[in-house]
């Protein structure tokens, strides 16, 4: 039963985590807008979501191998095998190169930053809706 609840929320959970990581990457691009030879980075969101979904849904509850149980009454831990970036960050294509080797285009970054923040909040709204739906299904009227 509980793993079904977990599976129901896992899509938006993954989405939020990926959005958080993407936000971090874009923040780093904005932070390094004036750093010579810095190459702007971003992630392939579709591929990251796909691999995160495959990692979680294929085996939602897998006993942790690296956790030691000192008592028989301890619960088996959950091994999360997708804690980091699944496919690693990629480099953004250069639109207008600059002499110092920096490839950050502030217009692109600002755009993507706002877009990513809105999508993060959209995921938050949807997961809130799911929780509300689940709560009303659980409650007796």
């Amino acid at each position: 039963m509980l793993d079904k609840l977990d599976a129901a929320f896992s899509f938006h959970q993954n989405a939020l985590r990926m959005r958080g990581q993407r936000q971090e990457l874009i923040a780093a691009n904005i932070a390094n807008a004036d750093t010579p030879n810095y190459k702007a980075r971003d992630m392939d969101f579709a591929a990251a979501m796909k691999s995160a979904a495959a990692g979680v849904n294929a085996q939602p509850f897998k006993a942790a191998q690296n956790m030691t149980k000192t008592s028989e009454q301890h619960l088996a831990g959950v091994l999360s095998n997708n804690s980091g970036l699944p496919s690693g960050a990629l480099y953004r294509p250069i639109v207008q190169g600059s002499v110092d080797g920096n490839t950050v285009d502030m217009d692109v970054e600002r755009n993507q930053f706002a877009d990513n923040a809105i999508r993060y909040e959209a995921s938050l709204t949807m997961i809130n809706g799911q929780i509300k739906k689940m709560l009303s299904a659980l409650q007796s009227q």
């Binding site: 990457l25 923040a27 932070a31 390094n32 750093t35 980075r41 930053f113 923040a117 993060y120």
Partner: protein, 135 residues
């Protein structure tokens, strides 16, 4: 938690940009300093930024690698009454290019503002995340 790392990244960029602004202020303030502690005209100072790895992912924060002195020749001014004038009456003034410094200043302050904005966005996202499942 990656969103918390945004604070570190933006914070490092803000501190680096503040240091750049500091260098600009020093250059502009000393634009007419014909002499300094070592007897030579003031030399324009520039900061060099460098990306350094931060935390877990591929996101990197900013650090001021070094502050370099511009070694280009200074402005030469004809002023025979000046105490630093040479035998022909010329004074060597600092090599500060005021126009360049003003542009540098605007660029630094805009970059600073961008990072403040980034930090605020991350903050509001985190605050909203804390409210998951509440009412």
């Amino acid at each position: 938690m990656s969103l918390f790392n945004v604070f570190n990244i933006s914070g490092s960029a803000m501190s680096a940009q503040a240091q750049r602004l500091n260098a600009v202020a020093s250059n502009l303030a000393n634009a007419d300093s014909a002499t300094s502690a070592n007897g030579t005209p003031y030399k324009s100072k520039q900061v060099v930024f460098s990306a350094i790895a931060s935390g877990s992912a591929d996101a990197s924060s900013v650090k001021v690698l070094k502050v370099i002195e511009d070694n280009s020749p200074g402005r030469v001014l004809y002023d025979p009454k000046h105490p630093m004038a040479n035998e022909k009456g010329y004074v060597t003034m600092p090599n500060v290019n005021v126009t360049e410094e003003m542009v540098n200043m605007i660029s630094a302050s805009r970059a600073y503002q961008n990072n403040v904005e980034t930090m605020n966005a991350a903050k509001s996202m985190l605050l909203k995340t804390l409210n998951i499942g509440q009412s």
